[in-house]
């Protein structure tokens, strides 16, 4: 489990976004609606992938992207898995809010997708599932499905799950400067049972990802898990930057 395979046209990195679009996403976060903060961060993440894939004026298909929005149902925003050059033409999907937060149902979709797409034989970057939510689930417990997903693997390592939890009540203290924050460790005290559950559903941050994040100016320390407290727009954006931190060639 080294997570060193590079995202290339021949070995593209697969990133699956799982976005909670429940009604609570209308609530404010730093002067904007949470859903708008997420849309902006998603746009920035896609732009970053395009930035890292552009050679000349062409976009190389270094990333394969799937995007699910969920409430009581799951919506496939890209109609299957699309390469980054295809997503460039499609643009950033419009997120519409609905009732309910059936996280387990969304993770079941992801599990089915990965069973179709994943091969332990291929040496390609381990897929990353980036889950963004702002509150407790309303359906079944998603944790067992998340565990099964984390046991799946490509030739480069087990599937990674990252959680961005938008809430102002996760950590006892505020994070004044995300660029100097060391990250959530396994022993970091969290507020609330669901925060603990999401941490258990989060993969350890691979060293190769940490190196890429260091180059982007973040200071996450070894031992951090792939969980971001969405207490500000900057932290939400940091979470989406983390999702694009598969190593690439210069």
């Amino acid at each position: 489990m080294v997570y060193e395979a590079l995202a290339t046209s021949r070995t593209p990195a697969m990133i699956v976004y799982v976005l909670d679009v429940s009604a609570s996403m209308t609530r404010p976060l730093g002067g904007k609606r949470r859903i708008d903060v997420v849309t902006d961060a998603l746009r920035a993440a896609l732009q970053r992938m395009v930035f890292l894939s552009t050679k000349g004026t062409r976009v190389a298909p270094r990333y394969r992207i799937a995007m699910y929005a969920y409430s009581d149902h799951v919506y496939d925003l890209l109609d299957g898995v699309k390469t980054v050059d295809q997503v460039v033409r499609l643009g950033v999907p419009q997120l519409t809010m609905l009732a309910g937060t059936d996280t387990a149902r969304a993770f079941e979709h992801v599990e089915r997708l990965l069973r179709r797409e994943l091969s332990a034989e291929r040496y390609e970057p381990a897929p990353l599932v980036c889950h963004m939510t702002d509150g407790d689930y309303t359906g079944d417990d998603p944790a067992p499905i998340a565990r099964r997903i984390m046991e799946m693997r490509s030739g480069d390592g087990n599937v990674l799950i990252e959680n961005i939890f938008i809430s102002d009540r996760i950590l006892p203290d505020q994070i004044p400067n995300p660029k100097q924050w060391s990250g959530i460790q396994r022993a970091t005290p969290l507020i609330g049972e669901y925060a603990d559950k999401l941490r258990a559903m989060s993969s350890p941050l691979p060293e190769s990802y940490r190196t890429v994040l260091l180059e982007s100016g973040y200071q996450l320390t070894p031992g951090a898990v792939m969980m971001l407290p969405g207490m500000s727009a900057e932290l939400v954006e940091m979470g989406f930057v983390m999702s694009t931190s598969t190593p690439v060639t210069r």
């Binding site: 395979a5 590079l6 290339t8 046209s9 021949r10 070995t11 896609l46 732009q47 395009v50 930035f51 890292l52 552009t54 050679k55 000349g56 004026t57 062409r58 976009v59 190389a60 460039v88 033409r89 643009g91 950033v92 040496y123 390609e124 060639t249 210069r250």
Partner: protein, 367 residues
Amino acid sequence: MDEVVTIRVPQDRETPVTPLLRSGHAYRYAYTRSDDSRRMDDIGQDYLVIRESGTRFAFALCDGVSQSFLGDLAATILAEALVNWLWEVDFEAGDPGTLVRRCRSMLADLTSPATEQVMHTQLPADLPGMLRDVLEQKRRIGSESTFVAGVIGHDVSPATFVWMGDSRLRIWLREKNAPVDFGDVFHTRERWSTRKGSVGEIRSYSIPSDEIVRMVAYSDGLAWADQQLTVSLVDDGLEQIIAESRSLPASDDVSYLEYVRRQNATESARDGALLHADTSSSRETEFGSTGQRVAAIDEPAALDGGATTLVPADSKQASQLIAGRVDNRVDVRNQRQGAVRARIGPRQLLFVVLLAIAVAVVVLAWL
């Protein structure tokens, strides 16, 4: 022979290993685009320029940074500027510190016209909005390239090399088996930027030209083969490594240049005769033996200067010379065989035939 020839290796196609033999040196070069560029039929972002005359050899090998704005743009601007600078500047009086200062100053002076070019480069009109936004973001950062460049004389004048970035440079000196140990000085983060000038440290190396036996420079697309490239390979072996680089998942552009100084006056005189003989033969015959290899440098767009006096000689011999497979003993033997062949001309052959007939007539008469 003071005509100056400049070879600009095309960025829009592959150039196989192309060996060339000159009176004072031999060299070979190759170029291949990354797998991505080949698939998208895009140009490569490496750029290799070679300039030579009868007395000097200069080159600039630049590797455009793909995460900057059109990295091939910086590579092209920089390579042309470096070769011009190396060709024109007199390094006789310069110490390494002076050399680096002059290089930094040249690179700084280049930022203004280069930025102008970056700002005026038109993007295709039909780009999707997100891609256009990203490219405009990159335009603000500027275009960037790493480089390795140098100039070598045929006498004791200083050979001078400068570089920034992770393109490789290896130099073998007289009576030394191992290449010069430069230490940890090939760093990806060091580069030239159209906006900032030199980013990081400019590295340099100088030595009397006649100390240099062999020099190899290549871009980081061949970094995975560093170990294999510590020895000189025959053309096919080198071609195989370059082909292998295209099949790697992280395939990158590859540009390769290898220079070998002719060992001594005898060798130069012998191969000079060969060069002369080849020059007098027809271009069709001469290029026929090397086919596509020569065609790649024979295009007017890629080659300028006095091409007629610096036509390629026997590419096989150039390859052998570069790969270190020609030794004096074999040469002497070949020369003797050549001498024997030279003595048996048509007149001698006629004399031998007549003599044989005469002997046969005498024998028949006696019987």
